[in-house]
């Protein structure tokens, strides 16, 4: 048998099998990034598609009761603020960075009652980074900005 064929068959078989697994994996886990307004525009389609939706956690909206964490995220960049109620139904504990006022990404599906059932939450505490210091002395109107040297 030709050498190229001898090596070619197992190589193609391995890569083919992996490719097939990859395609399957993508179809199973793909998650669409949506904003709250896009999610609401999707209508019923949003109920059977896995979606990742992001927003700011409304201050004082996090409640933990009977093993479920509920909160509201808001999209504030539009003409009027949009809100989405979220209930966390995942298994992993919520990240420590998740708190009132943080930015959260929720993965899951929209429930029939319009509440978003999240199976995974990622949170970024936006305020922690790039925060300006509170000035000790009465500063002039100019806001402090970083400048080299």
């Amino acid at each position: 048998m030709n050498k190229y064929v001898k090596f070619g068959i197992p190589i193609v078989a391995i890569l083919g099998a992996l490719g097939w697994l990859a395609k399957d994996g993508v179809n199973e886990t793909k998650t669409y990034y949506k904003t709250i307004s896009e999610l609401q525009a999707m209508g019923d389609r949003a109920k059977d598609q896995k979606v990742r939706v992001g927003g700011d956690v409304e201050p004082n909206s996090i409640t933990r009761e009977d093993g479920k964490t509920r909160f509201v995220i808001a999209q504030l960049d539009g003409p009027k603020p949009l809100h989405l109620k979220v209930v966390y139904v995942g298994i992993e504990p919520l990240p420590d960075t998740f708190k009132n006022g943080s930015q959260a990404l929720a993965d899951g599906k929209l429930g029939p009652d319009g509440v978003f059932n999240a199976t995974k939450i990622q949170a970024k505490c936006a305020s922690k980074y790039e925060q300006k210091p509170e000035l000790k002395r009465p500063a002039p109107a100019a806001t402090p900005t970083g400048a080299t040297i």
Binding site: K6, I14, L21, P93, T97, C125, K128, P144, A147
Partner: protein, 670 residues
Amino acid sequence: MENIGALAILLAFCFAVYAVIASLVGKLAKRPFLVISAERAVYSIWVLLSVAAGLLIYALISGDYRLTYVHNYSNKAMPTIYKFTAWWGGQEGSLLLWSWLLSTYSVVAVWINRRRFRDMMPYVTAVLMSTLTFFLILIAFVESPFRVWMSGKGIVDAGDGQGLNPLLQYWTMVIHPPMLYLGYVGFAVPFAFAIASLITKQPGEAWIHTTRRWTLVTWLFQSSGILLGAGWAYAVLGWGGYWGWDPVENASLLPWITATAFLHSVMMQEKKGMMKVWNIVLVSGTFFLCIFGTFLTRSGIVSSVHAFAQSPLGKYFVVFMAIGIASTIYLILTRLDFLKSEVQLESVLSRESSFLFNNLILLASCFAVLWGTLFPVISEAVTGEKISVDAPFFNKINVPIAMGLLLLTGIGPLIAWRKSSMDSLKRAFRIPAAAGVIVAGVLFGLGVRHFYALVSFALCAFVATTVVMEFWKGASAIRAKNNTNLLSSMVELTHRNTRRYGGYLVHMGVVLMFIGFTGKAFDQSITVEVPQGGSVQLGRYSLKIVSMVADENDNYTSGKLTVAVSRDGADLGTLTPERRFFKAAKQPSSDVAIRRRLHEDLYLNFAGMSNNGEKVVLQAYVFPLVSCIWGGYWVLLFGTLICLAPNKTRLIYPRTEVVGITGKHVKVED
């Protein structure tokens, strides 16, 4: 002081540009003094960057809150060790660490080769210093670590800082980033040698011989960095996971995969003169993946739990990588004639082909991880919709790949070079294969039905048996000849061929890790809300909440749970998971309690209070075999160190060959 720091960085930048130009001009115009002066510039840069780094560390520890960097990543209440580690807690500081490490590596490379490879060294210096120039542009002009708070024309002292991210205030985080960086940065040296050998059209494998130890050392740093990160995630993040296929984790894994492939395929070039182009591609690929990893963590193009700020650095990285990759490809294409293989592949059943398949599936895994990591970026570019893939995607494709690799780990070292017959394979693998089948059978009999778990344990048994048999055969031969005991014969055997037997030990470490990974299939977990005094049952463990004590110090307020643990009625003492609230960062953090045992860990996380403080939210997990991962790491570390140790003198050689007669390898490898 900040002026001196910024000036040192600026000067280092000028020196780096000078070193690139001087070494190239010196080489091309045959002016050796320029080459020497470029090498001295390399030493001076190290001094300058050490000054800059020293000043930043001093500012962090003494609490100079006029600096934005100190303000953002340090505060008064933090323990001194974390004030020091704040050096790499943020963007600017970690770029300074990158540059300092690269300059340290360059100093070492230039120093040990100051009388060798005079042809290649100017190019090595030039490549290293070009890379350093790039990073110095970033910290000198874009993200300076020595910015101060300005208000109008005056400098503002912020008084106190915001503190290092509480998640990073943990001991493995003290060494994890520098380890990973040592691994990332270190690959610049083999890459520089590879490029230099391409430019000078070196016929032989000089660059491979000189960089073998570098590669192994940096690979060890990468492995250590990744494992420390995993250990940190396990002990700190509160859900007991050690790997989540997060983009930043993937970024650290990618160069490790190609480096592993390189470590294997390099043997083909040393022994057989094959795969020369491929090795250059692998070493360059590893280097650019290291840069790419830094780019991914620093630019924010994909969302990650490693919450780094969005930054303007992305485009600089893209330009640097584009120039670097284009020049590398150009060099390889114009030098193809010098990189011809000396031998052709002969048989599918041969050592060569096992290396080929090892490389194939390692690269497939690397590609899949890269693809999955960049999926949101790719899908947005192609379909306009941002789509991400999740952990199950990565597991689905990488678990079978890992099984294939494990199989090759057992087969590769025993199969003959050139061509192997079915008969000899049957002889060599009869016992290991039987061991694998028996293990799978016993586990099936005990009620294990998880498919991959059975396959994995069977393969682990298979590989472990091959390794043990290799040691046994070699050591028995020495014992028979020298009349020594088995242990000292094993030491003797390893000493005669450190690379081979060190490599076996590394494989053994990997097997142990796989046993640990497979334990994941049998995890148990429970999340409960219990009042104080209540108890919960998890598997054989019974947990009783004894008390909750509140406490406070300068850095954080905390609540400490005391949980009485018993198993099958036998008292096992108490565990004390803690929840802390860091004042400066206004962020809670868990300090989990883990009862670590070799066969399983009991893992408790105090996740908070519910129902207005009436109930305690407790997450309890049982993780079987997870300790094997960390144990496997120590074996891997030990094995790699043995690989680095020199062989016993070459005079021993004829005797070593006698050993070969007992087995299939007539010629013992160097």
